[in-house]
């Protein structure tokens, strides 16, 4: 089986779907001839032609609005927003339109569109190339929110998202594009090839939306994470020496609440990790659910390890990023260490 990094896996997912289904079209800023600023659409225009993969004006609202119209026609648009930080001009089309079409038309019209966008920090992109806005979209009913953490999941989840009948916000952890980053700002960066989940089938396969992945079984504390932070959580677990159970949510909406609740009921402790700012981040919803469903099994308060409630500061990226040290500390605290 070929090994792929996340860029290649995402590219493969789109290519597989474009060859299987003529209704799949891909567009966005710089995605055509150039293949995208992160090269995720590399070769798609050459292979499938300019009608199926093309550049757009710099108009995120226009990109999503046009995609919605194409979806109403019967196509399955997969659009790229160059950075998640630039998705806000499309917010009205996403929230008021894509998320609402099915409901307001009683199923007469739907928006089977996939919005791909790189999110997260760790590349010295400053406050406008580092944001993690997933929490906002989880509050918008009608949207699905998916975040892979490995090449295998990236391809399988993206295929499921493209085939899904509802609009999906597909957030790609850009810091993981080329390697399983564990959050150590110093030291050599591992390539994906060293990671088993970089073995990705050439062809079609799905990873279903709404199924979390227990990436490490453990007895003493449950760590909930997604995207980049899954790898940081695993590293932190190692560093902490605690027998933590690490769960990769994979999709935030729909959420695999069963896997989460079973784990916390078993461990009695829960640490939630995300890179997004803390207040009203998705960690808040997770904490609210866990305390409500696992209340009588919880032995300590649920803790959140997150980005600080500030914009992402260019020079202090590694003071901002919730790295292995902070996560390990929270894990130790949770087990009363």
């Amino acid at each position: 089986m070929p090994t792929m990094n996340i860029i290649q896996a995402v590219n493969s997912a789109m290519s597989v779907m474009m060859s299987r289904d003529p209704k799949v079209v891909v567009f966005g800023e710089d995605v055509g001839y150039f293949g995208g600023v992160f090269r995720a659409t590399e070769g798609l225009q050459r292979t499938y032609g300019k009608n199926r993969c093309f550049d757009t004006p710099i108009s995120e609202g226009g990109i999503v609005g046009a995609a919605i119209g194409m979806g109403a026609y019967g196509l399955r648009p997969v659009v790229e927003i160059q950075f998640a930080d630039y998705i806000y001009p499309a917010f009205d089309q996403i929230v008021s339109e894509a998320a609402r079409l099915r409901y307001r038309s009683a199923g007469d019209f739907t928006a089977p569109i996939t919005i791909r966008t790189p999110y997260g920090g760790g590349i010295f992109g400053g406050q406008t190339h580092s944001q993690s806005p997933e929490g906002l979209f989880t509050h918008v009913v009608g949207l699905k929110v998916v975040i892979p953490s490995t090449p295998y999941d990236a391809k399988g989840l993206l295929i499921s998202s493209i085939e899904d009948g509802d609009p999906v916000i597909f957030l790609e952890p850009k810091r993981l594009y080329t390697g399983p980053f564990e959050g150590y700002s110093e030291g050599a960066v591992k390539p994906w090839s060293v990671h088993p989940a970089s073995e990705v089938p050439e062809g079609y396969y799905r990873v279903p939306l709404g199924q979390a992945n227990v990436v490490r079984e453990g007895a003493d504390v449950t760590v909930l994470a997604y995207g980049t932070m899954v790898h940081v959580a695993l590293a932190a677990t190692r560093d902490s020496g605690v027998d933590a159970e690490v769960i990769d949510l994979r999709s935030l909406i729909p959420l695999d609440v069963e896997t989460i609740v079973n784990s916390v009921n078993k461990t009695g402790r829960c640490v939630i990790v995300h890179e997004a700012t803390r207040t009203s981040g998705f960690g808040a919803e997770l904490a609210a659910i866990v305390q409500q469903q696992c209340f009588y099994n919880l032995e300590v308060p649920i803790e959140r390890v997150t980005g600080w409630d500030t914009p992402y500061p260019h020079a202090f990226e590694w003071k901002y990023f919730p790295g292995p040290a902070r996560v390990a500390e929270a894990i130790r605290q949770a087990v009363g260490g």
């Binding site: 995609a67 194409m70 899904d164």
Partner: protein
């Protein structure tokens, strides 16, 4: 500097400053003429019907009296429908209503000028499209009453209709969003080598939203087969069209900057609207791209049941509108043609009024808003997603359904 409308309450109405081209005076370029060669059309006003009801000039379409009579009937049914629903709201039978009185020619003539397979992305003020396409008024009333007949299961405010079957896209409460969606639909049609085209409508006020700009940009860049209509009815709730920039340039002129052909049409002239729409549709079907059409008209009544226009504009403005009433004008033309008469007009009026009243009785038999004759409340948890997730299943239980 803030623009001011011609007349506020108590001030005299004077429309003499309006520059109105004479009927028949505006040239008609060939359908394949270059957009750059017809900037003058964005500033003139395409008019076909003169004051005597004759169809004059190069834009006079060759259209049978039969079609025009269907159009006349559709406009009259639209107006009668509006009147009934407006009263129903006043009688507390629903929460809201919004008429298109005085603007019927735009939606109705365009529906007749387009193919039934073409896709329509309307605002809330083009109910005439649905009626002209033969959508059952009983269903429309069901939607307005949110009763058991409502195809939208009571989820939407009145007038936010939707019908895939009739090529009528679900109306959005958020102004303008449909404009770029229509362009996307048209792009999809073109890249699927389909010959169906799309059309969309926004009001003068809505042109200030970003979606308007997105639509014109994408339509121009990809040469999408779409007709982009701006219905300039002079008002956006209490703001006159100058607040949207209508005094600095016409709304049709917006198209020039994108390299789009732009037409400006007397929106109360059924034949002019019909002809301009046919021209744009032919152009789109010939893969020559999009056209922007400004329909110059007047919102003869309040914005909706929620406002009182006498608080922000002169009471007699509507009656003084120099371009008359679309139904009256088409009627006069048909009589001039010798295919119609005042007697038949009155008979038709009578018939239409009776028809709508009858439909209303039938609709109300299935309930009005608040009468608890709705779809089952548990449907409220459906269609958020294709499949209900655990959250909604639990919440539906919590709700007791």
């Amino acid at each position: 500097r803030v623009p001011e409308p011609p007349a506020r309450p108590g001030e005299p109405v004077d429309f003499s400053k309006l520059k109105l081209s004479d009927p028949g005076s505006v040239r008609r370029p060939t359908v394949d003429a270059a957009a750059g060669s017809m900037h003058d059309l964005a500033y003139g006003l395409i008019r076909v019907l003169n004051d005597d009801g004759e169809a004059v000039g190069p834009w006079a379409p060759s259209v049978s009296s039969a079609v025009l009579l269907d159009g006349l009937r559709a406009m009259m049914r639209t107006r009668a429908y509006d009147d009934r629903m407006y009263r129903a709201q006043r009688q507390g039978k629903t929460s809201f209503y919004l008429k298109c009185t005085g603007e019927e020619a735009i939606a109705v003539a365009q529906a007749f000028a387009l193919e039934s397979k073409d896709m329509l992305f309307a605002s809330y003020r083009q109910q005439g499209l649905l009626i002209a396409r033969g959508y059952p008024i009983l269903k429309m009333m069901g939607q307005v009453y949110s009763n058991a007949l409502d195809p939208l299961k009571g989820r939407q405010m009145p007038v936010m209709y939707s019908s895939r079957e009739h090529g009528y896209f679900t109306v959005s409460g958020n102004l303008g969003t449909q404009f770029i969606q229509a362009v996307g639909w048209a792009m999809a049609s073109a890249l699927s080598a389909d010959n169906r085209i799309a059309a969309s409508w926004v009001g003068d006020g809505t042109t200030a939203e970003g979606d308007f700009h997105y639509a014109l940009t994408f339509a121009a860049v990809y040469r999408a087969p779409v007709i982009l209509n701006v219905v300039n009815n002079q008002w956006a709730i209490s703001s006159f069209q100058g607040i949207a920039g209508g005094e600095e340039a016409t709304f049709a002129a917006r198209g020039i900057g994108y390299g789009l052909p732009a037409l400006r049409v007397d929106g109360n002239d059924f034949l002019a609207v019909y002809a301009a729409t046919q021209w744009a549709a032919q152009r789109a079907r010939a893969n020559l791209g999009a056209t922007l059409i400004e329909h110059f008209t007047y919102r003869a009544e309040g914005h909706s049941t929620s406002d009182d226009p006498t608080r922000y504009r002169a009471v007699d403005e509507a009656s003084k509108w120099p371009l008359g009433d679309p139904i009256e004008r088409l009627k006069t033309h048909l009589i001039k043609r010798g295919d119609w008469s005042q007697e038949r007009q009155e008979a038709l009026q009578d018939e239409v009024t009776k028809e709508i009243r009858a439909i209303q009785r039938e609709a109300e038999a299935s309930g009005t808003l608040g009468a608890n004759m709705t779809h089952s409340p548990k449907t409220m948890f459906e269609d958020v997603y294709q499949d209900m997730d655990w959250r909604l299943q639990r919440q539906r239980q919590e709700a007791g359904f």
